[in-house]
């Protein structure tokens, strides 16, 4: 589904990603862990299409398409979803109105007619339940005045509404209490299928108790320095990131 080869990216002339290689197949969950400043968020930003990052080398193929050539909206329409680490507040734009526009633009891209209002509302109701999002929040302005936990749940709610092929969760666990973490993880797990894949970016192992990864990758100084099964996350938690530094002789 996703194939990243030798990806280099920089911002303001400073190189952050220095040759990332990653293969993800449909149905898989991959965790990317790494210390602060290792390039985790840059990777998600580059995949989603943030324009301030400059890709200097390498390629990203998503379901046969060159992802890096697509505008951010076309990546979303192709099925890439980024759950933001810091969801943006947009006063004056209602959550529902925004999602309806998003959903219908994605449908138009696929040559489908706009969704019937009745079907849309039924979908909203169903997906709200999944992340235990209050109906009132769905009708409010996008993320405005939401608590940290509500914002993260709103991200997963949007993901459920748009049913992407590839979901990238960028530190979705940061700042979440254990109850919110369970709800968010429960939502992600329910949405998992053989057809879609998930990238979980996190600093801590705890989230991976709830979302079980098929593979764990350790990102350090812009490169994946070690990959392994889910046990790698536990090892990392136990020994700390220093063991990586020692292991790779950094």
């Amino acid at each position: 589904m996703l194939s990243i080869k030798n990806l280099h990216a920089s911002i303001d002339g400073k190189e952050i990603l220095r040759g990332i290689n990653l293969e993800i197949k449909a149905g898989e969950v991959h965790a990317i862990m790494g210390p602060n400043g290792s390039g985790k968020s840059t990777l998600s930003a580059v995949l989603a299409g943030r324009e301030e990052y400059e890709v200097t080398e390498g390629e990203v193929i998503f379901n046969g398409k060159n992802l890096l050539e697509l505008a951010p909206e076309d990546r979303a329409r192709e099925g890439v979803f980024l759950a933001f680490q810091y969801p943006v507040e947009i006063p004056g734009v209602s959550n529902i109105n925004f999602l309806k526009t998003a959903l219908n633009e994605i449908r138009a891209y696929k040559g489908l007619p706009p969704m019937e209002a009745k079907d849309f509302l039924a979908l909203v109701k169903e997906k709200q339940k999944l992340v235990e999002l209050d109906g009132k929040l769905a009708n409010r302005s996008v993320n405005e005045g939401f608590s940290g936990g509500e914002k993260k749940r709103n991200e997963i709610f949007q993901m459920a509404m748009l049913s992407p092929k590839l979901a990238i969760l960028d530190e979705t666990d940061s700042g979440l209490d254990i109850d919110a973490l369970r709800i968010v993880a429960g939502g992600v797990n329910t949405l998992k299928s053989k057809e879609n894949a998930t990238i979980v970016i996190t600093h801590y192992q705890r989230l991976l108790d709830y979302i079980i990864p098929d593979m764990v990758h350790i990102l350090y100084k812009g490169q994946i320095v070690k990959s392994g099964p889910k046990e790698l996350a536990l090892e990392l938690e136990e020994k700390g990131y220093d063991f990586i530094k020692e292991e790779i002789g950094a």
């Binding site: 989603a48 299409g49 943030r50 324009e51 505008a71 951010p72 909206e73 990546r75 979303a76 329409r77 979803f81 980024l82 933001f84 969801p87 943006v88 947009i90 006063p91 004056g92 734009v93 109105n97 925004f98 999602l99 526009t101 998003a102 959903l103 633009e105 994605i106 891209y109 302005s141 996008v142 949007q158 748009l162």
Partner: protein, 451 residues
């Protein structure tokens, strides 16, 4: 700013080179021409001739302001009026054109056609008890007219107040009697169309007596017109004790329309006045909104939205004059500036020495969508009392890139993301419209604008 002024000027006259000398000559020409016109028409105009003569005298002293005038420094009105303009009262609006500018189905509609009250086009046949709507030119015998007419708009304060007072040939007088509540909105539709370049001077007087309530909408439209219309419209508003007036102005002139719109309001004890100004198009729109709070426990809300593009110039000057203690005023003006257009917001708040415990808030926010657009924003607070809460804030920026990206990352195109954000920006002002039909109309206009 200079670049914008020049481009606007170019549109209106072939050259402004040697501007100083030319401006001086123009000033003599335009002002003198109007004074001569007054001499020949003064005996055919309604009302108190002495008042008109005072007005023309004051007008001749002030002259049509140019950019050396502090209050008019951002746009040279004199240049706008440089062409062959004449005071006009011709009536040439067709029924078909009228149909295009209606906006409320459920309202008492008053039509001001080229500055004059049109009985035929208005629909005010069956008015409820306690309300009087009539041609201002025929209201001179009315006691409320005599008590309030020209009592608030001072001819010595502004050349356009003087011009209007000297030349007006009509407009509407609305009188809401004591304790009368009028649920249905009153819509004053100013519609203009001229065969030749014309200055028109409609004059309205609204008197909302003690404990009365009303909703009044004023809209301005120039329909297909061979000549340019400069509409010097003036509305005086009196709001009595405990009265409540919702006032709306929808300015949707055509691309060549020029509007100088003065609103002079006077509030008595415990009254509530909310005025909402929407400028949607027009080559030149200047709003002078002056409100006097002359007793205690008064509440005043001023909301404004201006959407400018092309070579448009929109200039909002507001003055809130707190004269007595314990009053609240709240002002929010927002603008979206596109292309080479230019907008000005000049918001003055006076808190006089006696006006203790005043709460006065003002905010002006702008989005500048192009590198060639201009916004001048100038909050002015003059506070002479020592126990008050006053604040003002202003911001000008581009659309937030983080918000655009967030929306695009969910599948919205860049265009629809921007559209949604502009709509959201405007909605803070639009949601103050309490007449549903009018709110829908403005919403639709804004949606169409950013489509």
């Amino acid at each position: 700013m200079r670049a914008v002024i020049l481009s606007l000027s170019k549109y209106l006259c072939s050259s402004i080179e040697g501007s100083f000398n030319m401006e001086t000559i123009t000033k003599i020409n335009t002002t003198e021409k109007l004074i001569n016109a007054f001499e020949s028409s003064k005996n055919s105009l309604f009302g108190d001739l002495e008042l008109r003569e005072q007005a023309i005298e004051s007008f001749s002293k002030q002259g049509i302001p140019n950019r050396k005038h502090e209050e008019y420094k951002y746009v040279n009105v004199e240049l706008l009026l440089k062409r062959d303009f004449a005071i006009s009262t011709a009536t040439t609006v067709t029924a078909e054109q009228m149909a295009n500018v209606q906006m409320l189905k459920d309202a008492f509609v008053v039509v001001i056609e080229n500055g004059n009250f049109s009985k035929n086009l208005s629909s005010i046949a069956s008015l409820p008890k306690g309300i009087n709507i009539q041609n201002i030119a025929e209201a001179t015998g009315n006691a409320a007219f005599q008590k309030h007419y020209a009592k608030y708009a001072d001819v010595n304060n502004d050349a356009f107040i003087a011009m209007n007072t000297a030349f007006t040939s009509g407009g509407v007088f609305i009188h809401i009697e004591k304790n009368t509540v009028i649920e249905k909105p009153i819509h004053i539709l100013h519609v203009s169309s001229a065969a030749e370049n014309a200055i028109i001077n409609p004059r309205n007087l609204m008197v909302v007596e003690e404990n009365a309530q009303a909703k009044i909408v004023e809209s301005f439209a120039t329909v297909a017109s061979a000549g340019k219309v400069f509409n010097n419209a003036l509305t005086e508003i009196f709001i009595g004790a405990n009265a409540n007036l919702q006032h709306y102005k929808i300015q949707d002139e055509n691309e060549a329309g020029m509007l100088l719109n003065t609103t002079q309001a006077y509030q008595e004890k415990q009254s509530v006045f909310s005025t909402n100004n929407f400028t949607l198009s027009g080559l030149f729109v200047r709003n002078n909104l002056n409100i006097v709070l002359d007793d205690e426990f008064i509440e005043t809300h001023l909301n404004g939205l201006y959407l400018t593009r092309g070579n448009q110039v929109v200039d909002n000057h507001t003055l809130v004059d707190h004269r007595k203690p314990n009053c609240n005023s709240n002002e929010l003006y927002k603008g979206i500036i596109e292309d080479k257009s230019a907008a000005t917001f000049n918001g003055k708040i006076f808190v006089r020495k006696d006006a203790q415990k005043t709460n006065a808030f003002q905010s002006n926010k702008n989005i500048l969508l192009s590198d060639d657009g201009t916004i001048n924003t100038k909050p002015q607070l003059e506070i002479y009392a020592d126990d008050v809460k006053c604040s003002h804030g202003t911001s000008t920026g581009k659309l937030d890139e983080d918000k655009i990206f967030y929306l695009r990352a969910r599948g919205l195109s860049e265009t629809s993301a921007k559209k949604l954000l502009m709509h959201a920006f405007a909605s803070e002002v639009v949601e103050n419209i309490k007449i549903e039909e009018l709110r829908d109309y403005v919403e639709e206009k804004i949606t169409g604008r950013f489509a």
